[in-house]
């Protein structure tokens, strides 16, 4: 989040611990691709690594 520094009204500073839009895209992307797409993919007849279970 970009905020105005109280001491320097014209100077942009960053609150490095604030939530940023890119984090939301990232979290949604990870959940979607790892869990949703990963789950759909797991049902396909791919070869199994070393003959071991997944």
């Amino acid at each position: 989040m970009v905020v105005l520094d109280d001491d320097k009204r014209n100077h942009l500073v960053v609150n490095s611990t604030a939530w940023r839009p890119s984090e939301m895209q990232f979290i949604l992307g990870v959940i979607f691709f790892v869990l949703v797409v990963g789950l759909v993919d797991a049902g396909l007849p791919w070869p199994v690594p070393n003959g071991r279970s997944r």
């Binding site: 611990t17 979607f32 691709f33 797991a42 007849p45 791919w46 690594p49």
Partner: protein, 195 residues
């Protein structure tokens, strides 16, 4: 870059079919996953690039541990090693390399903000080719990675389905999800509408 990493992982699945896709997807963003808690603790930070207000590709990212060259190698090696016992050496190496591919792809787009050593020890010149300075170009590259990844994955998924005498439905659904999901994440990333 977010969507491009997922597209790359999907393309790898087409070639390394024994490695589960979910693990490849996790590997491709492993450095960023480690980045998040460090970011929330204020150890790694972001700031808008000079003259910009932040947004897609408009930040200087001080990920001096997770996105340093040596840090990325160490995190990727640890990620791959964690899967060797379960899935064997080949899958472990593949997952480690996919994890490191994150650093390699980031190198193309980042402004010169990626240090060689963790914590920027030694203050060596930072790395980054800065394609984000031409956001249209980086958007096109991300979109191409997603489209190529979805296509290559879909082709391989249909092939194994056909070989096993299965219907193509699941293969098609998975590849369409990769395409739509990837492009959707890219649109969200570029537009910042969730913010």
């Amino acid at each position: 870059m977010i969507a491009g990493h997922f597209g790359f992982a999907a393309a790898v699945k087409a070639a390394e079919q024994e490695t589960p896709l979910w693990a490849l997807m996790l590997a491709t963003v492993w450095l960023d996953i480690v980045f998040v808690p460090l970011f929330l603790m204020g150890i790694e930070t972001l700031e808008p690039a000079a003259g910009l207000a932040g947004g897609y590709g408009a930040s200087i990212i001080h990920a001096d541990y997770t996105h340093s060259l040596v840090g990325a190698v160490a995190l990727s090696a640890a990620f791959g090693a964690a899967f060797v016992f379960q899935w064997g050496l080949r899958s472990g190496v593949v997952l480690g390399l996919v994890s490191f591919s994150h650093w390699a792809l980031d190198l193309i787009v980042h402004r010169a903000d990626m240090p060689l050593l963790p914590g920027d020890v030694g203050h060596f010149p930072r790395l980054g080719f800065g394609l984000w300075q031409v956001p249209q170009a980086s958007i096109v590259i991300e979109a191409l990675l997603v489209v190529a990844g979805a296509w290559l994955y879909g082709r391989a998924a249909r092939s194994v389905s056909k070989a096993a005498g299965r219907r193509m439905t699941r293969a098609d659904v998975a590849s369409v999800l990769i395409l739509i999901g990837g492009l959707g994440v890219l649109v969200l990333d570029v537009s910042g509408i969730l913010g």
